[in-house]
């Protein structure tokens, strides 16, 4: 593919101003700089690297489980360790890998895609990462001292309650949930405000890249879904720590309450992982089919519809529980209905590929492979919307097969597609195509060999979460096949790591826009400067770099002697204000530490509440203490010019 070099956006006339811009946005040096940085790109990179480490650890846990299950009546791993392993695997994959990495990809790309310098609340963003990191370390520190969670990632009461889960295992799990929920809510807030208020002039809602739409829907879902489990996990912690009885039927509590609170979060969680996956597919299809995605409006509306319907599915995790049958029917209907918006997206992708000119680079292979796997998972998803059929396969390996097809096809393969696609932008280096294709084929084959036999195992009666099975059940052969598949997946991930390492060591230098892609993140250097764009671009279509291949129109006028971002209106992205932008600070880190002390101390004593509240208030108080300079000064623009109904280009003159 040709890789035209660009000189975009138009450089500042004044090279002194550029030097000043670099100086103003540069993070501090050294370790202190690392702790105080508020650059969305550094923070998102940390998030992504941490989440990938979590992915590897959860993968190793899966490998240990597959080794144990490869033979009937195997004694490699005992029940206590096995229960910790599958609880760690599920918890890590859901709370510490899939959602954080998708949100982190959004935190990296959204400001670049909408053409702004940073996220809306950069210090809060930094704080969110540290809180997430503390949660991840807490969970693995617990596991290292034989205190990993043992009641599953779903931690059903009463099994997770004080009577049946002694020790600190479940307490650590419950507080880890709190940490990840805080981090998730922080990141969601960033994304929503950044997307609605910081888009480049002219990027009206109908020109917003599909990826950004996907992150917006995801962020709203996070805000509505996560409080449910955050409150639920605190109820659980209180039941365990101070003998409340929210979930204790003997004292008027109810075991089913937990299931509702958990799945009201837990099912939307699937779409919180999966909508960014589809958004990645939609983001990279234009570059590799040489056309914009077919049916922009249909795809965007499908994602929004999925976001709404996704909240009406949670009871389908509870079809075997005592829930009124008539009420369950609603959830059958919703679980069926959600196939329609997802079908629309798949059909639009097929139309895009069919009418485009596909270029089979690694990102497109991962995207197509992901779609194929996801279709299989979607079909079994419709099957289990049927209550009678679900009651036969619920909590069996059929379900394990189903959701791994959904998550690998809808989340992991699209994520790898995205990594191959944006790696040159993030690092300035290209990944190897040869290793990339090897990675893809190993993974595609491995996923199917691992998980397809599990459908059969489930129908033959193999329940989930069993540490062993009797030889007489006849499940041994298919389990051995699944384990061989898992080895293949392991090899594919090792290939990926080798690819990343070799790209860092001797990878080909990436130009600014190696794929000739149409969206704004490719309009800056690879890797982007700390301030993202020298000048804020002006957008006149959904594919700005294709419509202005030579140079982008820009707005000028943001000050270079301090950090500033341009605020625009939520619907039409008309310039609205210049906003002074906060600088680096250690206090987000300190607040995260205080929150960490808060919840970790709570595992051991209710005094944690007192200590933690005081420490958090001190940290936040210093962070937010007015310092006399104009951190929050809004610079109003002349309203009449914005209201004059001029063209985008004319509006941008306002800032000159």
């Amino acid at each position: 593919m040709s890789a035209p070099t660009r000189n975009l956006p138009v450089p500042l006339d004044d090279s002194a101003a550029l030097t000043e811009l670099e100086r103003i946005w540069a993070p501090r040096r050294g370790f202190r700089g690392w702790l105080t940085s508020v650059d969305h790109k550094s923070i998102a990179k940390r998030y992504i690297v941490t989440a990938l480490i979590m992915f590897l650890l959860a993968g190793l846990e899966a490998a240990a489980m597959r080794a144990q299950l490869s033979r009937p009546e195997n004694t490699l791993v005992g029940p206590d360790m096995y229960n910790q392993l599958f609880s760690m695997h599920g918890t890590t994959m859901m709370f510490l890998f899939a959602v954080p990495i998708m949100i982190a990809v959004g935190l990296y790309l959204v400001p670049l895609m909408v053409g702004t310098r940073n996220v809306a609340f950069p210090r809060l963003n930094a704080c969110g990462y540290w809180v997430y990191l503390i949660g991840a370390i807490l969970l693995y520190a617990g596991f290292a001292v034989n205190s990993g969670p043992e009641a599953g990632w779903f931690a059903y009461v009463p099994l997770s309650g004080p009577q049946y889960s002694a020790g600190k295992r479940t307490d650590i799990w419950a507080q880890m949930i709190t940490f990840t929920e805080i981090a998730g809510l922080i990141a969601a807030t960033q994304l929503i405000v950044t997307i609605l208020k910081q888009r480049a002039p002219g990027m009206s809602l109908n020109r917003v890249p599909i990826f950004v739409w996907g992150m917006l829907v995801t962020a709203f879902m996070v805000i509505f879904a996560m409080p449910s489990v955050a409150v639920g996990s605190q109820y659980l912690a209180m039941d365990r720590l101070i003998s409340t009885h929210f979930f204790n039927p003997a004292e008027g509590g109810d075991a089913l309450l937990w299931q509702h609170m958990f799945w009201f979060f837990g099912h939307p969680e699937v779409y919180i992982m999966f909508i960014p996956g589809t958004a990645i597919v939609s983001a990279l299809l234009p570059a590799f089919t040489r056309r914009s995605v077919f049916g922009y409006h249909a795809v965007v509306l499908s994602m929004i519809a999925t976001g709404f319907i996704g909240f009406g599915l949670w009871v389908h995790h509870m079809f075997a529980a005592p829930v009124p049958q008539l009420g369950q029917s609603l959830f059958t209907a919703a679980s069926t209905m959600i196939a329609i918006p997802n079908g629309i997206q798949i059909f639009c992708w097929i139309a895009t590929i069919w009418t485009g000119r596909p270029i089979f680079r690694t990102p497109l292979l991962f995207a197509i492979g992901g779609i194929v796997i996801f279709i299989a998972g979607g079909l079994t998803g419709v099957m289990i919307a049927s209550i009678p059929f679900d009651l036969q396969v619920h909590d069996t390996y059929f379900i394990v097969a189903h959701f791994h097809y959904i998550i690998l096809g809808g989340v992991v393969l699209p994520l790898f597609a995205g990594i191959y696609y944006w790696f040159p932008k993030v690092t300035g280096r290209l990944l190897s195509e040869t290793l990339g294709k090897l990675h893809f084929w190993l993974m595609f084959v491995g996923v199917n060999v691992t998980f397809f036999p599990m459908h059969q195992l489930g129908m033959e009666g193999m329940p989930r979460r069993v540490y062993t099975y009797l030889e007489g059940t006849g499940w041994g052969d298919l389990n051995l096949v699944a384990t061989i598949g898992a080895v293949t997946i392991f090899a594919s991930v090792m290939t990926f790591l080798a690819n990343v390492v070799s790209a860092y060591v001797r990878g080909e230098r990436a130009p600014d826009n190696p794929w000739d892609a149409p969206t704004l993140e490719w309009a800056t250097t690879s890797p982007p400067a700390a301030f993202n764009f020298r000048n804020i671009p002006v957008v006149e279509s959904g594919a700005p770099l294709w419509d202005h291949p030579a140079e982008l129109p820009v707005v000028t006028g943001l000050r270079t002697d301090r950090r500033e971002v341009l605020l625009t209106t939520a619907l039409d992205a008309v310039p609205d204000a210049r906003h002074a932008h906060p600088g680096d600070s250690i206090w987000p880190f300190m607040l995260a530490v205080a929150i960490g002390i808060f919840f970790i101390t709570l595992i051991f004593t209710p005094w944690g509440f007192v200590i933690g509240t005081v420490l958090s208030m001190i940290a936040f108080g210093i962070w937010a203490w007015p310092r006399g300079h104009h951190d929050a000064e809004l610079l109003e623009l002349p309203r009449d010019a914005a209201a004059a109904g001029a063209t985008d280009r004319a509006r941008s003159e306002v800032l000159r």
Partner: protein, 323 residues
């Protein structure tokens, strides 16, 4: 290597009763429809990706062709909606068909979940002495619907015998119900389907479907008190049972042993398995289980029992005799 007892293969695609058969028929519809949809959609995707294309400018942004494509995509969406409507209709009919047994004369069985075994009771409201209590085996007559009333004494479990019926959870503090019916005599295996702790994997049960006359015989035998030991070895075994720790947790009707923590052992000698479907009920396995249950089911609540060989021998003889 433990040898599993010989069961009917536990599987939902080998139905042995009307409820499971109706779900199986619906499954056939699902699998065929899904296979067709998968082949068509993935076929379109791969054909669209791999078809030969005429040479053209590097970046093709078709405009006029979009309308035709839009109609095809709209048609695909309509077809999806139609298939889903058929699915919902058939599903609704299936739900109605299996919601409750069609005929009367329903046999009621109570199931109580424990970590990690199943307590099975046959209530008789007219005569309490007819009440049957057993464990890990549900004896039923064929061609007669069975209604299960279920609850749990500890954590949530789930009752599932795939050849006969889908799942229903056993929830502490609540009573749940489900029903099934067996068409042919046989032994159908099921196991707990809701994760319930350390030995979730080894919490199985057998449904044993008898011909009606055999079932009446079984009921008569099950209602009888434990058979009195008729030789000195077994009498010694009974003393071991009563004097040792066994009777703290287990009960044997007609004796002072009335522990309610573990399974009722009144007729343990006639059961097919021990340790909730984990081992065949043979003398050797029973000996291994009594001496060291933790080796077989790590985490189980039964403690190891350091018995002298002579005591063990007597106890085994006694338990064998509890037919």
């Amino acid at each position: 290597m433990l040898q599993a007892p010989r069961y009917a293969q536990q599987s939902m695609i080998d139905p042995a009763g009307p409820k499971a058969a109706a779900v199986y028929d619906f499954w056939l519809f699902l699998i065929v429809t899904s296979a067709v949809v998968f082949v068509v959609v993935v076929g379109a995707l791969l054909f669209g990706a791999l078809k030969r294309r005429p040479r053209a400018p590097e970046r093709a942004v078709p405009v006029d062709a979009e309308h035709r494509v839009a109609r095809i995509v709209g048609g695909a969406v309509a077809a999806t909606a139609l298939i889903l409507a058929v699915f919902l209709t058939l599903n609704w009919k299936l739900e109605r068909a299996i919601a409750a047994p069609k005929q009367g004369n329903v046999l009621t069985v109570d199931v109580i979940g424990h970590q990690w075994w199943w307590e099975i009771q046959y209530p008789d409201s007219l005569n309490v002495s007819n009440w049957i209590s057993t464990a890990n085996e549900v004896h039923i007559p064929v061609n007669r619907p069975v209604r299960l009333r279920m609850t749990s004494r500890d954590v949530i479990h789930s009752f599932w015998v795939p050849n006969l019926s889908g799942k229903k959870d056993l929830v502490p503090g609540r009573v749940t119900e489900t029903w099934f019916q067996a068409d042919t005599p046989g032994v159908y295996r099921g196991q707990c389907a809701e994760f319930c702790g350390h030995q979730h994997a080894n919490m199985a049960l057998l449904v044993i479907a008898h011909r009606p006359d055999e079932f009446r015989e079984w009921v008569a035998a099950a209602r009888a008190p434990a058979s009195e030991p008729y030789d000195s070895l077994r009498q010694a075994g009974k003393q071991v049972f009563l004097a040792g720790s066994c009777s703290l947790c287990h009960s044997v009707s007609g004796t002072p042993a009335y522990g309610r923590v573990g399974p009722d052992l009144t007729h343990v000698g006639s059961r097919r398995t021990i340790a909730a479907g984990t081992l065949p009920n043979t003398r050797g396995h029973m000996a291994g289980w009594i001496l060291d249950p933790q080796r077989i089911k790590p985490g189980a609540y039964m403690p190891p029992n350091g018995l002298e060989p002579s005591q063990l021998n007597a106890l085994l003889a006694y338990l064998e005799g509890l037919k």
